[in-house]
Amino acid sequence: MHSATPYPQAVSRAIDALARTDRGRLLSALIARLKNFQLAEDALQDALASAVVHWGRTGLPASPQGWLLKVAAQGDRPATEDRKASEIARLSVDEAAEDTIDDIPDERLRLIFTCCHPALESKTQVALTLRTLGGLSTAEVAGAFLDNETTMGQRLSRARTKILAAGIPYEVPGPEAWAERLQSVLTVVYLIFNQGYSCSAGDQQRQLGEEAIYLGRMLDSLRPDEAEIKGLLALMLITEARRAAGWPPTEPACRLHRKIANSGTTGGLPKVWPCLTRR
């Protein structure tokens, strides 16, 4: 028996994974292109929705990220539903010409500096960073703050409006402002980590800890020579590893390594030492 939707489950799994892992990357490239936060966000959402329909029919394109970016980049042009559908159909055939993820410019550094701009309230900085670069849904971000989803949605939407209206630039700050602005980015990442660490119980909070480490790694890979970033990443990894080992805080710090090594949950440790020993 032939079905019109041959790969629905695989496709929806793939789309979920993409929305999680590549959202920040795609959004950062889209904002650079469309010069509008809200528009880019909406366009990516629409592209993901189109993907559910089209990939369900045709299977995954050669480069799903490239496909999403192209479809989303058309979001700035008002298109009738028909025209949009035919353009998308053409795109799905035109797979050979698509950008792979490596061809898509990585603008996440610009994006995180915009999300953590001091002109935004600090709660908003955290929420926007989680939503935009962490790949959390608005409901998940709201959960982290014990807010309801509508309130959080409004906060995020006000933030995007302010970025556009107040002219918060989409750029990595120059050397004169770098140190100060980096601090506000690192503060946001550490706040996220702390939120994950201090509430040890639920899955939601655990997820925040991992989210912070993910952001720390991302920053480290984008600016490998920045000691402040490495320091924060090492601090987070070592704290996380220690938590996994259930290490009581009264023991002398010099036993830390052995204790964690013996606990069988070395988790982040092998990754910590290179961070700490690198100058």
Binding site: A119, A165, A166, G167, I168, P169, E171
Partner: protein, 93 residues
């Protein structure tokens, strides 16, 4: 005192960012007016009795908020008061 402002004006003009700017006289000189149920009410004093008052303004032509904030910190009154930065309305878009 005014020296700082003159220097700042020159910096702005040299950068091609200066559009206009004025200092306001003290609120002792203020008169407020409003129309209440069709009647004009005139009052002595500023529109609100607060410790902070608007001392003056600059209109600048600059590309983004970061640049605006950089110039704002050069305004002498930033050292003892607050400089608020806001974009102008754009009625053409």
């Amino acid at each position: 005192m005014m020296q700082g402002y003159f220097a700042f004006n020159e910096t702005l003009k040299a950068a091609g960012a200066y559009v206009s700017g004025e200092g306001l006289q003290d609120i002792d000189t203020a008169t407020s007016v409003r129309i209440c149920s069709g009647k004009t009410e005139t009052m002595d004093g500023p529109f609100a009795e607060t410790k902070e008052r608007l001392g003056g303004f600059y209109v600048m032509d600059i590309p983004n908020l970061d640049s605006a904030l950089r110039y704002a910190t050069m305004i002498p009154s930033a050292a003892y008061g607050t400089v608020e930065v806001r974009p102008l309305m754009d009625y053409n878009s």
